[in-house]
């Protein structure tokens, strides 16, 4: 089996391939364009289309703006659509800052992109052109959504699901910072907040209807969800119906950015704690991963193979993932430019070291 890991960093896109998740061939930074203005861009979002194998990269040149690049040969060659693939309509007055997320559903060719400023786009041609999802953009809550330190963006897209037992092609769950979790059951024509139980330590109400700074929501295979919030770790079997329940026992802190759910076992997830909203460093200055196997009832360290010396790089919201294989692997990268991989439940092995700070990772079997 060959695994492909795509790594977006603050200075370019890297790939790693390996047969056993232990030894890797790392390549990059890949040349997205011949002039290299995009090759050295920050890559905040990568996506691997499960239907076509196409890799999408949301690259952001500090001089020449954001765009989307794609490769149909596992990263060997890259192309950019002839016209700007993601652009706000004129009447919005908005302009794209960056792409934060690509998500793929059951329909081949359909790709959703979550972007900054807070918006969701839909593509029906594999990511070469996108259209703004109007009802979310026009949502009356929009005026109250504001950017956190990382910017105001839709960063989580879970197509086809509202919770346990409720899947349909018309369903979708998204999360944004700030704003929180929103869901649609009618193909994006209407959206409702689904944040009951999630705190907002920066707002006067303990649990407002919306406005939370949810950092990441991870979808479990049964439709339940795990959420890493701006202080608060939660699980929900159905956010709109049941709300969210805190699941923090065993974690050293309840702050962080990334969350990864096991692709086949609903009770298993990985979390990557950060000290606090004021201190974006790993607790006790040790690179740490925590794992639950009972739906968040208890989290235990899963640190075998990780450095034992002091460490100061955290894991950002999209810098952790699974490859979704039958026997899955898990991956994460840090702001210190180190990337690790592990078999399910196994020790971590270093994929790469000393890269630019890692913003996102995505993996698949090829």
């Amino acid at each position: 089996m060959t695994y492909l890991l795509v790594i977006g960093t603050r200075k370019g896109l890297f790939t790693a391939t390996g047969e056993d998740r232990r030894t890797w061939e790392v390549r990059g930074p890949h040349r997205l364009d011949s002039a290299d203005h995009a090759s050295m861009s920050a890559v905040y979002a990568v996506g691997i289309d499960p239907h076509s194998g196409r890799i999408l990269a949301g690259a952001e040149s500090s001089h020449f703006g954001p765009s989307v690049w794609y490769s149909d040969d596992a990263g060997e060659h890259w192309r950019e659509p002839g016209t700007a693939p993601l652009a706000f309509p004129e009447d919005t007055g908005a302009s794209l800052t960056r792409v934060w997320q690509f998500a793929f559903g059951d329909v081949p060719g359909v790709v959703h992109a979550g972007v900054e400023p807070h918006a969701l786009f839909r593509s029906a041609d594999g990511g070469q052109s996108f259209e703004l999802v109007r009802a979310l953009w026009d949502h009356p809550h929009r005026a109250d959504w504001f950017p956190g330190a990382g910017g105001g963006a839709v960063h989580t897209i879970l197509p086809g699901v509202l919770g346990c037992g409720e899947r349909s092609p018309e369903a979708m769950t998204v999360a944004m910072s700030t704003g929180g979790v929103y869901q649609t059951g009618d193909g994006g024509a209407s959206w409702a907040p689904a944040n009951r139980g999630i705190s907002a330590v920066f707002l006067p109400e303990d649990e407002p209807e919306y406005g939370q700074c949810v950092h990441k929501v991870a979808l479990a295979p049964d439709g339940s969800m795990y959420a890493q919030n701006h202080h608060g770790v939660y699980r929900s079997e159905h956010p709109a119906r049941d709300g969210w329940q805190a699941v923090e026992k065993g974690l050293p802190t309840n702050f962080g950015f990334a969350m990864v759910a096991h692709p086949h076992r609903p009770g298993t997830a990985l979390n990557f704690p950060v000290v606090s909203q004021e201190v974006h460093l790993p607790p006790e200055h040790r690179l740490g991963v925590y794992r639950t196997d009972d739906g968040g009832g208890r989290w235990l360290p899963a640190t075998e193979g990780l450095p034992e010396e002091p460490y100061f790089g955290i894991v950002l919201r999209d810098a952790a993932c699974t490859d979704g294989a039958d026997s899955p692997g898990f991956y994460f990268g840090t702001r210190s430019g180190d990337v690790y991989a592990a078999d399910d439940g196994g020790p971590w092995h270093r994929v790469a070291a000393h890269l630019p700070d890692v913003l996102c990772v995505r993996a698949t079997e090829v």
Binding site: H37, S62, H63, F64, T83, A84, L96
Partner: protein, 94 residues
């Protein structure tokens, strides 16, 4: 009338490799008109220079002769016959 637009190396691939491009414009043209004329011939340049609302990108500088356009009248700066328009990435970024 004609003005000359000078492109930085990073953008020449979006203009067929050209470093200097003559752009025909009306005698009353402002910088926006010149850029419109430029990207009508080389549409791939537009997204690099301006966002989708037509605003100059923050770290792209456009000099009208020796003055950066933001110190003049921005995209409404008059561009008379014979003007050199230079597009340069700013010192920021990278």
């Amino acid at each position: 009338m004609s003005v000359t637009v000078h492109l930085p190396g990073l953008l020449r691939a979006d203009a067929g490799g050209a470093a200097h491009l003559p752009v025909d414009a009306d005698p009353s043209a402002v910088l926006r008109d010149v850029l419109d004329g430029l990207v009508s011939e080389h549409p791939g340049l537009d997204r690099r220079i301006r966002d989708e609302q037509g605003r100059l990108r923050r770290y792209v500088n456009v000099f009208v002769d020796a003055e950066e356009c933001r110190a003049l009248n921005g995209l409404d700066t008059p561009v008379p016959e014979g003007t050199d328009v230079r597009i340069l990435p700013s010192v920021a970024g990278g």
